[in-house]
């Protein structure tokens, strides 16, 4: 078990940032860590990386306890913190050299490793520049290079793609994918496609509590029992009339004659809706079935009113 979090509680003042959270990440697994802002993702990661101590509970990385044995944990961890803090006045190679030395690497071994990581992270052209002269995407690469310099067994990446443009996001994502072989990766993200593209499994937390820990397939399958149809009528039919259509479970009036209908997934409700419109002498201006995506899964799991 690479990462084991057991009944973790972290309080700030009177507020529970993380509330009895337990999960495990197996060797070699890539796990996405999801949750709305303020759910406790970063706090959990800070505890795993020994930056913050847990209020209670046990956190282990490769069997080393983060409280009793932080030095061991720090050695096998690569960590990219949120907002990617860097020493802006350092040169890229100088910075990687510093981090490598901190990890006890020296001489030609360190030099070869820096060359290797620079080309892996696509920094060859930028390697002799100052960090402050780099664009955000390249800074993110430097952050990743820094986390990977000592070839860590476990990688913790806190929102590695926030603030990047779509091309950079894809580049960083591919980079993570190619670098993550034989490593255990826990990374947090808001971007669902990213999680879908990268992860074997997702852990979803909300308000510091675990709400789901499963493969994306299983999670979407649950969600697929219901389908969402968006229908637009020329006039505004009554909500209760719409509920009478076969298979319709719930109706949300989105205004301007647009309705969001939740229907049983095994019934195709679209012909019935079309008929309904014809009967009511209304024109059907739009009818679209939405796929259950990670987004809807995410929204369902982290609804504030969900018990």
């Amino acid at each position: 078990m690479s990462i084991r979090v057991n009944d973790l509680i972290k309080t700030f003042g009177t507020q529970n940032a993380v509330d009895t959270l337990s999960f495990e990440v197996k060797d070699g697994e890539i796990v996405g860590f999801l949750g709305p802002n303020g759910a406790g993702k970063s706090t959990t990661m800070k505890v795993i990386t020994c930056f913050l101590p847990p209020t209670s509970g046990v956190v282990e990385v490769n069997g080393h306890d983060v409280v009793k044995n932080p030095e061991q944990v720090k050695k096998i961890l690569g960590y990219l913190p949120e907002h990617n803090p860097l020493y802006l006045d350092m040169f890229v190679r100088e910075y990687l050299n510093f981090i490598g030395k901190v990890h006890g690497m020296q001489g030609s071994r360190l030099k070869t490793r820096i060359n290797e990581i620079v080309s892996l992270c696509g920094l060859t052209k930028e390697q002799n520049k100052k960090v402050e002269a780099l664009s955000k995407g390249y800074r993110q690469r430097v952050g990743l290079a820094q986390a990977l310099i000592h070839d860590p067994k476990v990688l913790i990446l806190d929102e590695p793609t926030t603030g990047l443009d779509p091309n950079q996001i894809i580049e960083i994502r591919n980079l993570i994918k190619s670098l993550a072989r034989n490593k255990t990766v826990l990374f947090s993200s808001h971007i669902m496609q990213e999680v879908q593209a990268l992860c074997d499994r997702v852990i979803v937390i909300n308000d510091g509590k675990l709400v789901a820990s499963d493969t994306i397939k299983t999670l979407s399958a649950d969600e697929n029992k219901r389908a969402i149809i968006r229908a637009e009528f020329s006039n505004q039919p009554d909500k209760h009339e719409l509920l009478k259509i076969e298979g319709v479970k719930r109706v949300d009036d989105l205004g301007d004659g647009v309705y969001r209908l939740e229907v049983d997934a095994h019934i195709d409700a679209r012909p019935s809706i079309f008929k309904f419109a014809a009967e009511k002498n209304a024109m059907l201006l739009g009818l679209r079935q939405e796929e259950a995506s990670m987004e809807t899964v995410f929204q369902e799991l982290t609804k504030p009113d969900k018990d």
Partner: protein
């Protein structure tokens, strides 16, 4: 520790701070020693280096907080503190690395003034008429004093993420430790405790060393203040784990 030390020293050298500190110190002290008539050795007429050792601490009082103020404050503000603390470094390695880099910059600034000793030695009548023992004691005192000011500066830098606040706290603490205790001891209400009170301050021990008599008690005093400051620094840095 050595990695943090090198990193800090490089950042001094790359950001011009080192050159500015050293040249401002040397220009200021040089003007005071050789040019300004009120304090110049030439006008004074005695072959000693009192000007350097009497005014040096006041120059340090501003220069050292200026070099130490960014040490932790900047890391806190830039978020690199998180980076540093999640690397396999102990708190002591980080503190010592930063502290020693600051202190060595101070030593580098003081070293060139040895040429003043040589000059005054030549200017003496007869040449060589200078109290070498007192000069050696004073240099030791000045460097130890630099060590105390640096430890105060490192501590102040950890107290806040704002460099200016850190600078002001450090200047104030340096002042209190340097001459504040002696001045307070001069108040009339201490009775026999006055001497003890004065001994808490740097000035008492600094003056003792500058007489050329290197007493282990004085050296021990400087060592204990440095240790105390660094211990408090360690305590505050470790307080994140409480």
């Amino acid at each position: 520790m050595i990695q943090v030390f090198t990193k800090e020293l490089n950042s001094f050298l790359n950001s011009l701070i080192a050159y500015i500190v050293i040249s401002v110190f040397l220009a200021g002290i040089g003007l005071l020693m050789w040019v300004f008539p009120d304090t110049s050795v030439m006008e004074y007429g005695y072959a000693d280096m009192e000007t350097l050792f009497r005014l040096g601490p006041y120059v340090f009082m501003f220069l050292i907080p200026a070099i130490t103020m960014r040490m932790f404050a900047e890391e806190k503000k830039a978020g690199t503190m998180e980076l540093l603390l999640t690397k396999p470094l102990t708190d002591w390695q980080i503190i010592f690395g930063k502290y020693l880099s600051g202190w060595s910059l101070v030593v580098f600034a003081v070293l060139p003034t040895v040429i003043y000793y040589w000059s005054i030695r030549q200017l003496g009548d007869p040449a060589g008429n200078i109290d070498t023992a007192a000069v050696i004691g004073s240099y030791l005192g000045l460097i130890l004093l630099g060590g105390v000011f640096t430890s105060i500066g490192v501590l102040s830098s950890l107290l806040t993420a704002n460099q200016i606040v850190s600078f002001i706290i450090a200047v104030f603490l340096c002042f209190i430790f340097y001459s504040g205790f002696s001045s307070l001891a001069a108040l009339n209400n201490w009775g026999r405790g006055a001497l003890l009170f004065e001994q808490f301050g740097i000035l008492y021990h600094y003056n003792a060393l500058s007489k050329g008599l290197i007493d282990t008690r004085d050296v021990l005093y400087f060592a204990s203040v440095i240790t105390l400051m660094l211990l408090v620094t360690k305590l505050i840095l470790g307080s994140r784990k409480w």
